[in-house]
Symmetry: C2
Subunit: 520 residues, 2 copies
């Protein structure tokens, strides 16, 4: 199940990951179950569109690009790049000759590696790989005392620790929650530092302003070395479209910084279907494809070859209240379809996660998340943001939900290994040995496989009713709360070279000193 | 979304479904959302085995059948039938020449209709149809006051009413709970009568003794007419194998009654992998296929052409405690694989449902159920028992879980409709009308579709945190409890011809008088 093609090569500027300390740290990071890195899917993708539907949506998207166009707002450089590339510019509206975006995207890699400071944690993005990353963006947390409150930098650090410790979590993520107790113009420094210092898994950068993207890149250069960063992807970044059909200067500014530095952008239409896109699946897919074609090809204008993903965040809305809904059939169909479009385009794909609208980690949260997550895996998603901790439509990072979700991620990883049909797995000798009317519990084949045969959930209670009752009739979230406290108590930071650490701290100190605090 | 090929024809002996009363009853049975009958899947099946794996498992199953054999216990007639068919008999062990079972199964229908007394509720079994049926078998209920206790006939009737009212439930099921307050040798009469009287959806028969199966058939003859029953499937019945590789006289006795009367048998290995089958997916599939080949082809010896399903109940066990586990990756792989084997064999397929081990309708219950149910649909399952109400490994029928599950079934039905690519669904005019930077809420296309565009959950809370808080911070199961009470209060029985009703009641009275009560 582990990645076979993990890069083990020498890396300039990498100083902090080797030796006994790192091995100890790695052991301490082991939650229950076996150690995973990223998923190499041995299963097929599930597809909902046939060739006719795909061709139709692709043709319609080209029509949208040419006839309606996409707006690149408040960014003269972007407009100039498009003009130079042969697009037809009307004010801030860019009209693309048919095939232009597809043609530009030929320089984008189908598969690339995002490097972690611990090479064993580097992940493949694209192809048959699936990488799980935590929730991104909530301003609130639901904490271990059951309180819903604004998130702090301590919460942020805690989620980074939990993601580091979770065997089924391949990535440290980005804004695992929004640390609102840190000034808005400085918190990105503390966030990026937390990912670098408290974890050795790959992570995401700041996109809330071009200078914060640049800070992220500069910190990566301290951690990995400047030359290394220029030649390798070390940070992956979420570039949302302002659907419908707009990219704004904030996102364009961040995208330019990252693309110019050869770092990965996930160009993601953020879709609440019925509000930001048509109310139908086919219409939504058309708009999503048009937006991604425009935004992703823009990164290739900035730097041909820069890694870029086809992203899709799909939810629908309640047509009664306008509230976003998750885990429902229509967004699943959108995401399955978008995954197919991405494969045809030759770009790695991001969607899904463990999305839900529920306010608590109850049955609603779990089934909405499971519906989304099953789709995420079967669609062949390469990068799955929001895979753990998401609650309340993304407003809340929940500790308990995080623990419940990472358990599910472990199940997905096991499923993705598919069916072993080796002679041993065929078990004909076991069937002969046991025969009619007996049982397999004691047979040699069972005994030799029982440690790894079945996924073991650290949270599911499969005991008898009487046993469960005698243990206090705990709901799953109560068990998740207990396990989460255990993990946080047991956390040990991975080793980091003191010189690198000092360099990062000095950089952060200088940057913070250079500007007054801002809170809006 | 509704079935297009529903039989509307005249039916001898059917007397109770027409007219205004039935229409009123049908309206009263409408829960929230649109009315469904059965699912006609417009989506593809998901497959986990390639041709090599399928051929290997099929060859291994033939080896098991020939070399190891299957035991048909305590049933001389069964042994005689097999001897006559060319099998090699050693005591109660039947060894099958390669290809014999497959050859016998050529007379079994790939697709058939199970008729309901209301023709509009008849269901297709096989092909692209998926039929959801309620939980089967629990001796306990978790009631609306939160108590876990033995089930009663009143509970049984309540679950029949709920299944009748749920738009996403296509079938009334069988032993929706075990009414332990009725003598064990008589309760089947009350159960079958409840299905016939309180619902007009198709139902299942008794399999706990051959004479109870005969009572079921005799009651069907009163409801549908004797000639009609002989020529049409009106009851579907669960025939479990005693895995590994045994059929016992109870199940064989029931199977013979139903097959002889041209009624459907679901031949289902009941598998807790690692106990009743090898600990591996490939080994389990081999044994499952061998058992189904033997049991299903047996029905064709009894009456060629009798409808029979390829069933698979798959769970794994905790290798620590031996407890069954649900919603985990390995049983999903087994079920996906078994669905492929069934399609190649040309038999309708049964598996899955909304299975879980949890004691409460909490996050564990919901995610285990959602994992199982997503698989059930995507595998192309034709008949899904246990689709609603299952809790605690099948020991408990839960009212709240039933309501939560039928909501999910509605989502599956919407998903199964796939992606509409009609010109209207392409929504190009809407995209043109809205353009960059606006929104779709008010546009004509959205307005014309908003009633049906998105699945509407009657239980999910998508409101703001503040709204949810002001409404009492209810968990999903609390809302499910409230909705369940509403439904039970609103229930109205479908019309039934008084003569038929009297005939059924007379039959039951006579049968009950004919034997003393038995409680074991």
């Amino acid at each position: 199940m582990e990645a076979e093609n993990r890069e083990e090569g020498r890396r300039s500027g990498r100083r902090g990951s080797g030796g006994a300390a790192a091995r100890r740290a790695a052991r301490s990071a082991a939650g229950p179950g076996e150690k995973h890195y990223y998923i190499q899917r041995k299963i097929r993708e599930y597809e909902v569109l046939d060739e006719e539907a795909l061709a139709l949506i692709e043709a319609n998207a080209e029509t949208v690009l040419e006839e309606i166009g996409i707006e690149f707002r408040d960014d003269a450089e972007a407009i100039a790049l498009w003009r130079e590339a042969g697009a037809d510019i009307k004010g801030e509206r860019v009209h693309f000759p048919k095939g232009l975006c597809r043609s530009l995207l030929k320089t984008a890699p189908q598969v690339f590696t995002q490097h972690a400071r611990n090479a064993a944690r580097s992940v493949q993005i694209g192809g048959k790989a699936t990488v799980f990353a935590p929730v991104y963006g909530p301003p609130f947390v639901r904490d271990l005392d059951g309180e819903r409150r604004y998130a702090t930098i301590e919460d942020f650090q805690n989620f980074v620790k939990l993601a580091y410790m979770a065997p089924s979590m391949h990535h440290s993520g980005g804004t695992v929650c929004e640390p609102v107790d840190v000034p808005v113009n400085k918190r990105h420094l503390d966030m990026v530092y937390a990912h670098m210092r408290l974890s050795d898994k790959p992570f995401m950068g700041s996109v809330t302003a071009p200078e914060r993207a640049q800070d992220t890149v500069d910190m990566c250069k301290i951690l990995f070395g400047a030359d290394y960063v220029d030649q390798n992807c070390v940070v992956i970044n979420l570039i949302n479209a302002n659907s419908p059909m707009v990219f704004d200067d904030t996102m364009l500014g961040a995208a330019k910084v990252y693309a110019r530095n050869n770092q990965a952008c996930i160009v993601s239409p953020f879709i609440l279907a019925g509000a930001m896109s048509p109310v139908t699946v086919a219409g939504t897919l058309t708009q999503v494809l048009a937006e991604v074609l425009a935004g992703a090809s823009f990164t290739q204008l900035v730097r041909p070859g820069a890694p870029v993903l086809f992203g899709t965040f799909a939810a629908s809305i309640s047509m009664q209240s306008g509230a976003p809904t998750f885990g429902t059939p229509e967004p699943s169909l959108v995401s399955y379809g978008a995954a197919q479009l991405a494969r045809r385009l030759g770009l790695p794909f991001r969607t899904g996660g463990s999305l839900c609208a529920s306010k608590l980690p109850d049955a609603q949260a779990a089934q909405e998340s499971a519906n989304t997550l099953n789709m995420t895996l079967l669609a062949g998603t390469n990068f799955a943001l929001h895979s753990a901790g998401w609650l309340e439509g993304g407003l809340v990072s929940s500790y308990e939900k995080f623990m419940i979700d990472v358990d599910q991620l472990g199940m997905m990883q096991k499923f993705a290994a598919g069916v072993d049909i080796s002679e041993d797995a065929q078990a004909m000798d076991a069937i002969r040995e046991v025969g009619p009317g007996s049982h397999y519990l004691g047979c040699a084949h069972t005994q030799s496989h029982f440690q790894t045969a079945f996924y073991r959930s650290p949270l599911a209670d499969n005991n008898s009713f009487e046993q469960w009752q005698s243990e206090g009739e705990k709901r799953m979230e109560v068990r998740a709360n207990e396990l989460c406290r255990q993990w946080l108590n047991a956390y040990e930071a991975p080793a980091l070279d003191e010189g690198v650490n000092d360099g990062l701290r000095d950089f952060i100190h200088q940057r913070k000193e250079a500007m007054p605090d801002a809170f809006t």
